[in-house]
């Protein structure tokens, strides 16, 4: 399994754990406080689950299993996958840490989108018949 896939899958499990803790925290303190407003906290936890956990797990496994790019470079442009790893993780972290501020949503969302573009560019040539 490539190194970046291992990093992505292990990070995905870390985000899953944080999402479950975050979900429990929202359930325990349903009345929002100054530090963590209710709706924004819920949105951040949803992104931990869907981006941090699901999307990252999907792409970690896809980068490992998808048809090889070429005999010389079986995993294609690996730097793009590292960019996606950085974008997705920093993006989710930004959304979580800045969930009570507009900058958190904008920077976090922007970084996640960079991650999406990078992983699409990395995997697209490997989605083929042979």
């Amino acid at each position: 399994m490539p190194l970046v896939s291992r990093f992505m899958i292990k990070s995905a499990f870390a985000w899953l754990l944080l999402a479950l803790i975050g979900g429990a925290a929202i359930a325990a303190w349903p009345v929002p406080g100054d530090f963590w407003p209710g709706a924004a906290a819920r949105a951040a936890v949803v992104h931990l689950l869907t981006v941090g956990w699901l999307t990252q797990l999907i792409f970690g496994v896809a980068h490992w299993l998808f048809p090889r790019y070429s005999r010389e470079r079986p995993h294609g442009a690996v730097w793009l996958v590292w960019t996606a790893f950085a974008g997705l993780n920093l993006g989710v972290a930004g959304r979580l840490l800045g969930s009570n501020a507009a900058w958190g949503e904008i920077i976090g969302g922007g970084l996640q989108f960079v991650g999406i573009l990078a992983i699409t560019a990395a995997l697209w040539p490997r989605i083929r018949l042979k």
């Binding site: 699901l54 904008i106 999406i116 699409t120 083929r128 018949l129």
Partner: protein
């Protein structure tokens, strides 16, 4: 080798991923213009489900009778297009039709793929029973 239908399904799901990400980014400053559910539908129904179906159709054991997933894929993406239309033309009937067609496509995908989910011994037994010796 990745089947042609899987190539189409996975590539379409990647397009939905980029579109959904862009919608999410635009929805941050203007949540009224683009509601969160449009972003959520693009990500969950446009990206995650078809990506999983396309990969499963490619990677699940293929021994024995394999049902094609072309028709489920056509129905599923037809439902997705109908649902997308309901965001432009906000009529409940279009949204209900889109979501219903998506459900039918999902059931057909499951019907095609579930028989291929089996233990390795069942796959080997099938290989033995069909081998010439």
């Amino acid at each position: 080798m990745m089947p042609r239908t899987s190539v189409f399904i996975i590539r379409a799901s990647m397009v939905a991923l980029v579109a959904g990400g862009m919608l999410g980014l635009v929805a941050i400053p203007s949540p009224i213009t683009i509601p969160a559910r449009v972003h959520a539908d693009a990500m969950l129904l446009g990206f995650m489900l078809p990506f999983a179906f396309g990969t499963a159709a490619w990677i699940l054991p293929k021994r024995g009778k394999v049902r094609a997933v072309t028709i489920p894929a056509i129905i599923y993406f037809g439902g997705l297009l109908t649902l997308s239309t309901s965001y432009v033309i906000p009529l409940p009937s279009i949204e209900i039709t889109g979501r219903s067609v998506l459900a039918v496509g999902t059931i057909l995908f499951a019907a095609a793929l579930l028989p291929r989910v089996r233990h390795i011994t069942a796959v080997r037994r099938h290989d033995h029973s069909t081998s010439p010796n």
